[in-house]
């Protein structure tokens, strides 16, 4: 079935927070919310799960730390031992700064790459947004109509309670 979407355009973030809560309270399907900036409290209002990117960050950091420690141990103690100031070839304190930098590098790069993959972002990608003003001064709340007989009017009435500026219906996609 092709989805139908109701798009409500709002002027203020308070209205957006209110309408998002009302949409979820009515058990309507909240598809997405487009905002020009990060709105505080919107994640909770939308009921989004906590980001799993933190796990990517942690695991990539741990891998970076482990790999560089192993690499330094192998090169310094086995492959090419150098006498530095008479210290043991396998000297833990000397490995820490590089392992620290590699932890930061791996964690940082991995989390950005994971974010891009998860969001389907790549250089030159065309933005799929309901209209250019969501990058400027308007907020758009998108409700998905799940059944063929669901009425867009109900959603419109609900949105009007929160001072909606314009309501459109789109079929097939939001953008």
């Amino acid at each position: 079935m092709t989805h139908r979407f109701v798009l409500g355009t709002f002027r203020s973030e308070d209205d957006v927070l209110g309408v998002v809560k009302a949409v979820r309270a009515r058990k309507l399907s909240l598809h997405d919310v487009y905002t020009p900036y990060a709105v505080h409290g919107l994640d909770e209002a939308m009921g989004l799960r906590p980001s799993r990117l933190t796990w990517v960050c942690f695991l990539a950091g741990a891998v970076g730390f482990g790999l560089t420690m192993l690499f330094q141990y192998y090169t310094s103690a086995f492959d090419w031992p150098l006498n530095v100031g008479g210290k043991p070839y396998n000297s833990l304190p000397a490995f820490i700064p590089i392992a620290f930098e590699a932890t930061v590098l791996f964690a940082g790069m991995a989390v950005v790459i994971a974010l891009f993959i998860r969001c389907g972002l790549y250089p030159g990608k065309k933005a799929k947004i309901p209209g250019p003003r969501v990058t400027n001064d308007r907020f758009v709340v998108v409700v998905r109509l799940d059944s063929a007989d669901a009425s867009a009017e109900d959603v419109q009435m609900l949105m009007e309670g929160f001072g909606v500026e314009a309501v459109d219906e789109r079929v097939g996609g939001v953008a």
Partner: protein
């Protein structure tokens, strides 16, 4: 700042507006704290007669611990002013009250420094036989030491008093003038503090081993002191919450304090490692002496435990986001950090009087029993003597809606 709306009491949520001097420790807690400090004082006197050197070292440690809590309070407040951080304004009276305990810490330092001849062997060596100490004698001499100690304490106490008084006055005026003045005072304080605290840690702790030096020592002691102070801050918030006070405290405030705790514990670990690694790498005898002493026997165990307790465990526990918003878990980490800060100071101060190995006895505990209860009593007295929320601060509304 002109554009900031001036907060009126009427704008505040119900139940927040003037609470008056309502925060009080239950009388039996007050009596218990006073009792502990009296017993401690008796033990200190006995300790000075029975085990003089150990007791003076423990008094120095207790004074640094007590002073650190007050200093961390005023540093937090001053940082908030100079960075224009609005988020912590609603809970700012708590670090202000910690700063209110500064006279107790200062008094502890004055009492501990009476032990100058016992604590610091540079006070009574034959300089002609010790060219290193002779070269340092322009700084390390008893007269200069006393004058500097008075100067440090006067600067800290004076500016703290001025900042706290402005903040309190704002409760009545609801103006921005006090904020503007405190921004200036805070900037002056932080610059003065950077120099005086470094110099004080050189004087009071580093000169216990006067041949040794570490240029990062001031930052090292600051990072430990401030991490401990943040832990005290969070524990006070937990106590107030339990007493049913400070309804303005939000999970987001805790989250940010948890992040600061996490960040400063990590900063401490970073500086700990910097100091250790550079001395280990350089392997210059006059620098390595410090760590050689701390790798003898059981001191080695404590030296290794130090970064584990103060950095590794807090780091791993506080890494996930939900941990920083969980007051019960934060309280456990804070208690660990309070113990860890004691361990850190113990490893810094005590090896000079316990070369044969660490000893933990009555004389090590007694000075803490005197100083810390008075820090708690002074902090709660400062909390009770004023509004619990700085209701005249222009940033208050921002703080009440703080969201992370």
């Amino acid at each position: 700042m002109e554009t900031q709306a001036v907060t009126r009491t009427a704008d505040l949520p119900d139940g927040l507006a003037p609470q008056g001097p309502s925060v009080e420790l239950p009388p039996r807690v007050t009596r218990a704290l006073q009792g502990v400090s009296i017993v401690g004082a008796v033990l200190v006197v006995v300790g000075l007669l029975v085990s003089t050197d150990r007791t003076w070292a423990a008094m120095l440690l207790a004074s640094q611990y007590a002073l650190g809590i007050g200093l961390a309070g005023i540093v937090f407040v001053a940082l908030g002013y100079v960075t224009g951080a609005g988020w912590a304004v609603a809970i700012r009276r708590v670090p202000e009250a910690m700063a209110g305990s500064l006279p107790v810490g200062a008094l502890a330092v004055v009492v501990a420094l009476v032990g100058l001849p016992w604590l610091y062997h540079w006070t009574h060596v034959d300089l002609s036989a010790d060219p290193i100490l002779e070269a340092k004698s322009w700084w390390l001499n008893t007269g200069g030491f006393v004058v500097r100690a008075v100067l440090y304490l006067a600067v800290w106490l004076g500016l703290t008093r001025a900042i706290r008084r402005n903040s309190e006055r704002q409760d009545a005026t609801h103006g921005v003038e006090e904020t503007r003045r405190n921004v200036l005072l805070s900037a002056v304080f932080l610059i003065a503090f950077g120099f005086t605290f470094s110099a004080a840690s050189f004087d009071w702790i580093m000169s216990l081993e006067p041949h040794w030096y570490s240029t990062v020592f001031g930052i090292y002691t600051f990072s430990g002191m401030f991490t401990c102070g943040l832990a005290v801050f969070i524990l006070l918030l937990a106590a107030l919450k339990r007493m049913g006070k400070l309804a303005v405290l939000r999970e987001s405030h805790l989250h940010d304090l948890g992040r600061l705790l996490f960040g400063f514990a990590t900063f401490w670990g970073y500086i700990w490692f910097c100091q250790y690694m550079l001395i280990w790498y350089g392997a210059i005898p006059e620098e390595t002496a410090y760590y050689l002493l701390r790798e003898q026997g059981a001191w080695h165990v404590l030296s290794v435990m130090n970064p584990i307790v103060n950095w590794l465990i807090p780091f791993l526990i506080l890494l996930p986001r939900p941990a920083k918003r969980n007051l019960g878990l934060l309280v456990k980490v804070c208690v660990l950090i309070l113990l860890g800060h004691w361990l850190d100071l113990f490893v810094m101060i005590n090896p000079t009087v316990m070369a044969d190995g660490p000893v933990l006895g009555l004389w090590e505990i007694a000075p803490l029993m005197v100083a810390l209860p008075w820090v708690v009593l002074a902090t709660f007295k400062a909390l009770g003597g004023r509004n619990l929320v700085p209701e005249g601060d222009p940033y208050l509304v921002e703080s009440l809606h703080h969201h992370t």
